[in-house]
């Protein structure tokens, strides 16, 4: 199944106990778009010792600059979004029962029965539904609509939340052998990877790290962050769906998997928001081949990352995205392979070390 195992085992380990613990802390934090405080505090704690300049901008982005000491440095902005998809309480029905809306893209059919946490205090609740005992066979054929669902905090919870509070899935981070199961891997993996890159940034670049807000509702934070940094190159580090399970119809080939687990970091050529700069794509692929790091091309598909906002900023920024493949993205529990996570970090780190401004020469192909 995996051509990558051998390569990964022979390489320098980047993911150990400390790294996994930080990713767990990031994933377990609640940071739904527009209220990213919890993740922002972790990010600030981690990056302040690593950077010459750290600020929080008007929208809440953390903008951290690590200045290199080399000659002919390239100004590289790397963006990872701190927000996650989730919910917002919209209606107080009394007795700790709340109507809610979805923030970002979540399939409402998947909500029934999920445990949730509400607000900065992580008040536990559940998106409840009638027990099977009481439903008719007819009822069970239709998915419940968002309007029919409520978050139930129990009567004691009614004072602990209010309309406007964010809520998210209650899933706790866990390791399953070579895999990790957690909520919000999109994009805490990116946040983690960007923190790691700041720890070991090469001297040939100025690393302009943007931990962005409100990506899931339309790349909003990245837009102003890119305006602020005005970089020469933009990279979004994110997580993208892997729909790589076998088809039930065995005669057919799965032609729409987006990405596959165990095939390494996913390099973008085109999504709904960006056509990746081909010079940057070549640079990443050559780096991977040179360093023996597995990679895959993400299938050109709709969807978007912060690169969609960055590349259109000011007079234009050549941009690309790199993602860790993840099964069950934007649901209560995503699943990744540690090897893909580690290889993504290795690829980004190696690529940055090789970067120089010659890459920006206009291509005529």
């Amino acid at each position: 199944m995996s051509p990558t195992k051998q390569i990964t085992q022979s390489s320098r380990k980047r993911i150990g106990k400390r790294q996994t613990e930080l990713l767990a802390e990031l994933c377990n934090a609640l940071s739904v778009s527009g209220d990213e405080q919890e993740v922002r505090e972790i990010v600030l704690r981690e990056v302040k010792p690593l950077c010459q300049q750290v600020e929080v901008d008007a929208m809440g982005n953390v903008l951290a600059t690590r200045i290199g000491s080399g000659q002919d440095k390239v100004q590289v902005m790397i963006a990872a979004h701190m927000d996650e998809v989730g919910f917002m309480l919209t209606q107080d029905d009394g007795d700790g029962i709340y109507g809610f809306s979805i923030v970002g893209g979540i399939d409402e059919r998947q909500l029934v029965g999920k445990p949730v946490i509400v607000g900065r205090e992580h008040v536990p609740g559940v998106i409840g539904a009638k027990a099977i005992h009481l439903t008719t066979p007819e009822e069970r054929k239709t998915a419940l609509k968002l309007e029919q669902l409520r978050i139930d905090l129990g009567p004691d919870g009614s004072g602990l939340a209010r309309v406007g509070d964010r809520a998210g899935f209650a899933t706790r981070f866990s390791e399953i052998g070579p895999s990790i199961r957690a909520k919000a891997l999109d994009d805490r993996l990116g946040v983690f990877n960007l923190i790691e890159l700041l720890r070991s940034a090469p001297e040939n670049i100025d690393l302009l790290a943007a931990f962005t807000v409100q990506e899931e509702v339309g790349l909003r934070g990245a837009r102003v962050a890119a305006y602020h940094f005005n970089p020469q190159i933009g990279i979004a580090v994110d997580s993208t769906p892997a729909n790589d399970l076998p088809l039930y119809d065995e005669d057919s080939e799965n032609t729409r998997y987006n990405t596959r687990l165990d095939h390494g970091p996913a390099i973008y050529l085109m999504d709904g928001a960006t056509i990746a700069d081909r010079r940057l794509a070549e640079w990443l692929m050559k780096t991977a081949e040179g360093e023996g790091i597995p990679y895959q091309i993400r299938q050109p598909n709709p969807g978007g990352t912060d690169a969609g906002a960055i590349h259109k900023t000011r007079a234009g920024v050549p941009s690309i995205s790199v993602s860790v493949p993840q099964r069950y993205c934007h649901t209560a529990a995503g699943l990744i392979r540690k090897s893909d996570w580690e290889d993504t970090l290795r690829l980004l780190s190696a690529a940055l070390s090789r970067l120089n401004s010659k890459i920006l020469t206009p291509s005529e192909a």
């Binding site: 056509i275 590349h311 900023t313 234009g316």
Partner: protein
């Protein structure tokens, strides 16, 4: 209206230019070849030329004199195309659209990849009376297997269809928007004297969301801007109701679904057409957008409009324009850029 244009009154250089531009492949994001082709045509006639970070070709003609403005003229050089998403075990390539590609006009079409490979577009068996979707289509490159296939995930192709000269009307796969690039090039060469600093922008990635013009307009920071692009017509059997028709002159856009042309710009364009005794038509396009929107929203806002070339069968492999409209569009653009601009 004459039924056919006598061949001896046509500008063969303009026809050759259009042919060259429409036959050069350049789907959005892959504008290297077409950019080089345009540069070749203009470099002897410009005061300054550069390629920006996204690949827009930006050429300046003239310097700002008393009463002059910084004017941006934008014609996009990208075209719609396809990108491979998967090659199956038997060597058939699945794909996604780059820009607004209609599945109906794909079937049986031929494509040319940027790496030189060629292919034809086939379709799965459809349910009776169902319309095809792009997911049902595939490119057959003649490969016998995945290993044998000359293309892989991420490879890009454009539609392949030679230029067709019907006399009064011209047909090609990418009149949208190479015919406008030809208009801009001709105007650039013909512009002998101008009080303005004119930035001719040959923009990229228009078909995927006006992306090139967005950054070009920021970089140029113009006082006034014009897109040059094709527009739909209402002059074919049982089509949408629309005032614009071929052979009635270039169209002056009043609005489309992406922006409302600045009324002062519309008035300026109408006055110029009248002054030069050129035919023109006013255009209201219900669905469609142009670089005009991107220019209008740049920086603190820019008065912007659009000079449109009426075009039948847009986004099909056989887009049709009128030779006379093209020639008159060149004359109108030269007129617009030669005189002082009064916006009121």
């Amino acid at each position: 209206m004459t039924k056919t244009q006598p061949n001896n009154t046509r500008d063969e250089a303009l026809l050759a230019l259009i042919r060259k531009l429409v036959e050069t492949p350049g789907p959005s994001g892959q504008e290297g070849l077409i950019r080089a082709a345009v540069l070749e045509e203009i470099k002897a006639h410009v005061d300054e030329v550069r390629t920006d970070a996204l690949g827009n070709l930006i050429a300046r003609v003239g310097t700002k004199q008393a009463g002059g403005l910084r004017v941006m003229v934008s014609a996009h050089i990208d075209e719609i195309g396809l990108m491979v998403t998967h090659v199956d075990a038997n060597g058939f390539a699945r794909f996604i659209a780059i820009g607004g590609v209609s599945p109906l006009s794909c079937i049986g079409g031929r494509v040319l990849f940027m790496n030189g490979a060629r292919g034809v577009i086939g379709c799965e068996r459809l349910e009776p009376n169902s319309a095809p979707t792009l997911e049902k289509l595939f490119i057959d490159t003649g490969a016998l297997s995945r290993e044998d296939c000359p293309v892989s995930v991420g490879d890009v192709c454009g539609f392949e269809r030679p230029f067709l000269d019907l006399g009064a009307h011209l047909v090609a796969k990418s009149m949208d928007d190479r015919v406008s690039a030809a208009v801009a090039i001709q105007a650039l060469r013909a512009l002998k004297k101008t009080p303005h600093e004119v930035y001719f922008v040959f923009s990229v990635q228009e078909e995927v969301g006006l992306r090139g013009a967005t950054t070009a307009a920021y970089g140029v920071n113009p006082d006034v801007g014009l897109a040059v692009d094709v527009t739909r017509t209402g002059d074919t059997p049982r089509t949408v109701k629309m005032e614009v028709a071929l052979d009635k002159g270039p169209a002056i856009k009043v609005r489309d679904s992406s922006f409302i042309a600045d009324p002062r710009v519309v008035n300026w364009m109408v006055a110029a057409a009248k002054a030069a005794k050129l035919p023109y038509q006013l255009e209201v396009l219900e669905a469609g957008g142009t670089d005009g929107r991107a220019i209008q929203l740049a920086h603190a806002g820019v008065p912007a409009g659009c000079l449109s070339i009426p075009c039948r069968y847009i986004h099909s492999p056989s887009e049709m324009v009128s030779y006379a409209d093209v020639e008159n569009a060149v004359k109108l653009l030269v007129q617009l850029l030669s005189e002082e601009i009064k916006l009121d």
